[in-house]
């Protein structure tokens, strides 16, 4: 696994934990323990995503890296297999 994939994996893990808490809180809106945990993960996620976007390009709406190109249209897309896309650069 390359560095990009391994960072993406960490972001996915934290997003999943946050999402699981999110839908749990939908039916348990007064659970303070779940609320605190969600807040904690949220801070950790912000730092990770900022680092990822700095190095590998846009995940969401904000064009972070490079002012000369709209990073959103760069490969890979989620259904691509990263290594193969990297081998095809220039095609």
């Amino acid at each position: 696994m390359n560095e990009r994939d391994s960072m993406m994996r960490r972001i996915k893990s934290i997003d999943f934990a946050m999402w699981e808490l999110h839908i749990f809180l939908d039916t348990h809106p007064n659970d303070t323990e779940a609320l605190a945990l969600h807040e904690k993960y949220s801070k950790r996620r912000d730092a990770l995503v900022a680092e990822y976007e700095q190095r590998f390009g846009m995940l969401g709406m904000k064009n972070i890296t490079g002012e000369n190109r709209w990073q959103w249209v760069n490969d890979p897309w989620p259904w691509d297999i990263t290594q193969e896309v990297e081998n095809n650069v220039g095609l």
């Binding site: 994996r9 039916t27 989620p78 259904w79």
Partner: protein, 203 residues
């Protein structure tokens, strides 16, 4: 509104071509108990749901189902992206191929195109939440059936993740149903539909 994030909810990385397997997994893309139907079912039911928690659960689970639709589409795509004419013949994929080539189209395993007839919006809180609990179990059964035939570990891993999500969603809808009945007449939950009737009947 929705905002797209350029990532899958759970990683999918399949290197072995297998159109036969793609054909049965496709049913969770566009079949009767698939992710597309699940998303449309929940996102449509939410408008007339009476309680804030239920609006939240339906919006969020309806949204997560779209992320699952993307995962299933990715599985089908990765299983078929490198197939040869020989693979298509051996895998019994010709019927699908002549109509859609290697495109990803919402159809059931039987080939029937996606139909909204497989989902329901009844406009009754208890009815709709019970439908949603059944829908999660039907999707869970479908994933169990897919796992009987999927022997590639790269395919089994994301399918097992999707199966586990059905179980969690079933739990959340069960809690939603309990939140709803807690606010209704315990002697007769059905006397009054909070999605339509403005006030409870006189006892």
């Amino acid at each position: 509104m929705w905002v797209y994030e350029k990532k899958l909810q759970y990683p999918v990385r399949i290197t072995n071509t297998n159109p036969q397997l793609a054909k049965i997994i496709m049913t969770q893309y566009g079949g009767p108990d698939g992710e597309l139907g699940a998303s449309v079912r929940y996102l449509s039911q939410r408008y007339t749901m009476p309680y804030a928690e239920l609006k939240g659960v339906l919006t969020d689970i309806g949204t997560e189902e779209l992320a699952h639709l993307e995962m299933v589409g990715t599985i089908v795509y990765q299983l078929t992206r490198n197939m040869t004419e020989e693979d298509i013949k051996k895998g019994g994929y010709m019927d699908y191929f002549v109509d859609h080539t290697a495109g990803v189209y919402p159809a059931a395993a039987s080939g029937t195109p996606f139909s909204a007839a497989a989902l329901a919006v009844k406009g009754d809180t208890i009815t709709d939440l019970t439908e949603d609990m059944a829908a999660e179990q039907k999707a869970r059964t479908t994933y169990d059936n897919i796992l009987r035939f999927a022997d590639d570990p790269d395919v089994r891993d994301p399918i097992k993740f999707l199966r586990a999500r059905e179980v969690v969603h079933f739990q959340r809808f069960g809690e939603g149903l309990r939140l709803a009945t807690d606010r209704l007449d315990p002697k007769n939950f059905y006397a009054f539909n909070p999605s339509f009737d403005k006030k409870p009947p006189k006892m």
